[in-house]
């Protein structure tokens, strides 16, 4: 049934978006690293999953080229996707090692994102260039289609639960507090004995791992992955989820993903179509997203569900507006 297929697609997208937004919120919202190259770790996970499950490139008459080419079991390929995200995230993090101010860091990372996309599009030998990879195996392809679809939803749900569990270990407790201190003032934090570089790389690795897992899950579900799936603007969509939901707040990032990635970006698909301008609804989605982000930055910078701090005299505090 069409609506059921649509629901499955929505749930898988929601789950993979959640993993990515949680990872970016850990990096940007909690630790203050403005990683505008975040989508690159998602791509790293997706490509890794693809080349580890596709088998040798000569298999299908060699119609697509790529490095590697293995037939690992899918759970291993998913883990490898997460690991690839962690490694690539750490490498991206190194660009911010010099005491770059956050705005310069953001620019440096945006450039990294553009450079990687250019190289991967141009070098056909890597991941089949701009055409991308197709026929990426679905883990449940042996089941009947309907069961396979819901099995995939289950897999994504399990990954989300595990991902959230790992995430909370980093955003709460003494470590989460120290990361937020680094975000608020990195100089003061290092004057208090905090190894800011090590902490930032740690966060880049963990956030990268979550992004990589998100990409691997997407590639296995869609069955294809190409540079058009990870243009730099996708990072901004994740960033909007963080800003609308509440910077530094895990609950906020979750709600922000539901609002931005699902309600806004999918909602516009239901608007009446104009045959004269076929791409209108998608463009409209970006316009609505950008507008919502700006409105929040102006009027409610703390987001819908602001970061809350533990209280010792009573219950948790929320920041005053402004």
């Amino acid at each position: 049934m069409a609506w059921e297929y649509y629901l499955v697609v929505m749930l898988v997208y929601l789950g993979t978006d959640l993993l990515a937004v949680w990872g970016l919120n850990l990096e940007f919202g909690v630790a203050g690293v403005a990683n505008l190259a975040y989508i690159v770790v998602v791509a790293a996970g997706a490509y890794t999953y693809a080349v580890l499950t596709l088998g040798p490139s000569s298999n299908l008459g060699g119609f697509q080229q790529y490095i590697g080419g293995f037939t690992l079991p899918w759970p291993l390929a998913l883990l490898a996707g997460a690991a690839a995200g962690a490694v690539v995230g750490t490498i991206i993090g190194i660009t911010g090692l010099k005491r770059l101010r956050q705005d310069y860091q953001a620019v440096a990372m945006l450039v990294v994102s553009l450079m990687v996309a250019t190289v991967v599009s141009a070098d056909v030998g890597l991941f089949n260039g701009s055409a991308g990879l197709a026929l990426i195996p679905n883990p449940f392809s042996t089941l009947d289609p309907e069961t396979a679809r819901w099995a995939y939803v289950g897999l994504v749900a399990v990954c989300c639960v595990l991902g959230f569990f790992v995430l909370r270990r980093f955003t709460t407790g003494p470590l989460g507090r120290t990361l937020r201190a680094v975000r608020d003032d990195d100089v003061a934090a290092s004057a208090m004995g905090k190894d800011v570089i090590r902490l930032r790389l740690l966060v880049q690795a963990v956030g990268g791992g979550m992004g990589g897992l998100s990409g691997a899950l997407l590639a296995g579900f869609i069955g294809g992955w190409s540079p058009s799936a990870w243009v730099y603007i996708e990072t901004l969509a994740f960033l909007s989820c963080v800003i609308v939901g509440g910077i530094g707040s895990d609950r906020g990032a979750t709600l922000g993903t539901v609002i931005v990635a699902v309600l806004l970006l999918q909602g516009v698909q239901f608007l009446p179509q104009f045959p004269s301008s076929p791409g209108l609804s998608e463009d409209l989605g970006w316009i609505v997203l950008a507008t919502a982000t700006i409105v929040f930055i102006w009027l409610r910078p703390q987001g819908v569900l602001p970061e809350r701090r533990p209280r010792y005299l009573g219950k948790a505090v929320s920041p005053p507006p402004g």
């Binding site: 003494p174 507090r177 201190a181 003061a188 004057a191 208090m192 701090r309 010792y312 505090v317 005053p320």
Partner: protein, 253 residues
């Protein structure tokens, strides 16, 4: 009194042709309060920044407790007990006052990978002890009701107090204070002076950059006078006030 806790030898820092710090040497004795004074632009804050590791020296050596720390990054100096406060208080604005203090505690289990894997159970006990210690400090500084306020909502004087409490949470050997009295009311200044004197009596060593000469005279056993990047003179404030050289460089009120 043992060997000096801090030894600064021939420190130099140039910015283009400007010699901001030009061969500065002095010691800070253990358990003493040493003042660093001089007119605006004398290079006091630069010296403090070089000692703290925020700025790299062009020449010279800094020893803490006999160990050469000249090339050590800031966070490692802090872990060895060299703790500084800033001229403009730098609190972690989106953390509560109490959390600002807790962050500063060294060797927290919950900050490490072991704590991430072990979860709350592995650090709960240590955390409880730290919370008690922090609440004790807040009471001492007269801010027990501010524990749960976000630090960015505090007044300027309260932020400065948070900086000093935070430094004390680190159990420092040597405290570098950059104009801790600036902008404080006279009564708060007196209170802070008493706190600093008490700390020195407990064996803490302090190096204090301060404009308020009366404060310096009340607190500091030794005073180092800087002008134009050099050490002009050092000794006790009462002697220095009489020195013609110092009077010329630093119009003493």
């Amino acid at each position: 009194m043992g060997p000096a806790v801090l030894t600064v030898e021939g420190l130099e820092k140039h910015y283009g042709g400007v010699r901001a710090v030009d061969g500065v040497s002095f010691n800070v004795e253990r358990g003493s309060i040493t003042g660093l004074i001089g007119p605006n632009g004398a290079g006091k804050s630069t010296v403090l920044a070089v000692i703290g590791g925020y700025i790299a020296a062009d020449a010279g050596r800094v020893h803490l407790d006999g160990a050469d720390i000249t090339k050590m990054p800031m966070h490692q100096r802090a872990r060895r007990g060299l703790v500084r406060t800033f001229q403009m208080a730098r609190v972690f604005g989106n953390l509560t006052t109490l959390e600002n203090l807790l962050v500063a505690a060294p060797q927290q289990r919950g900050e490490r990978v072991a704590g991430v894997i072990g979860g709350r159970r592995s650090w709960r006990r240590q955390e409880g002890a730290l919370v008690e210690q922090a609440q004790g400090l807040l009471a001492t500084f007269g801010m027990p009701t501010k524990a749960d306020d976000l630090a960015r909502t505090l007044s300027g004087g309260q932020k400065r107090a948070v900086e000093i409490m935070r430094a004390l949470m680190m159990q420092p050997k040597l405290l570098l204070l950059d104009e801790p009295m600036a902008g404080l009311s006279p009564s708060l200044t007196r209170q802070l002076e008493d706190v600093l004197l008490g700390l020195a009596q407990q064996g803490l060593s302090l190096l204090l950059v301060e404009h308020e000469l009366d404060t310096v005279e009340r607190l500091c056993a030794t005073v180092v006078v800087m002008a134009q990047g050099r050490v002009l003179s050092q000794g006790h404030m009462s002697e220095l006030r009489l020195s013609r050289e110092v009077q010329d460089a630093y119009v003493i009120g």
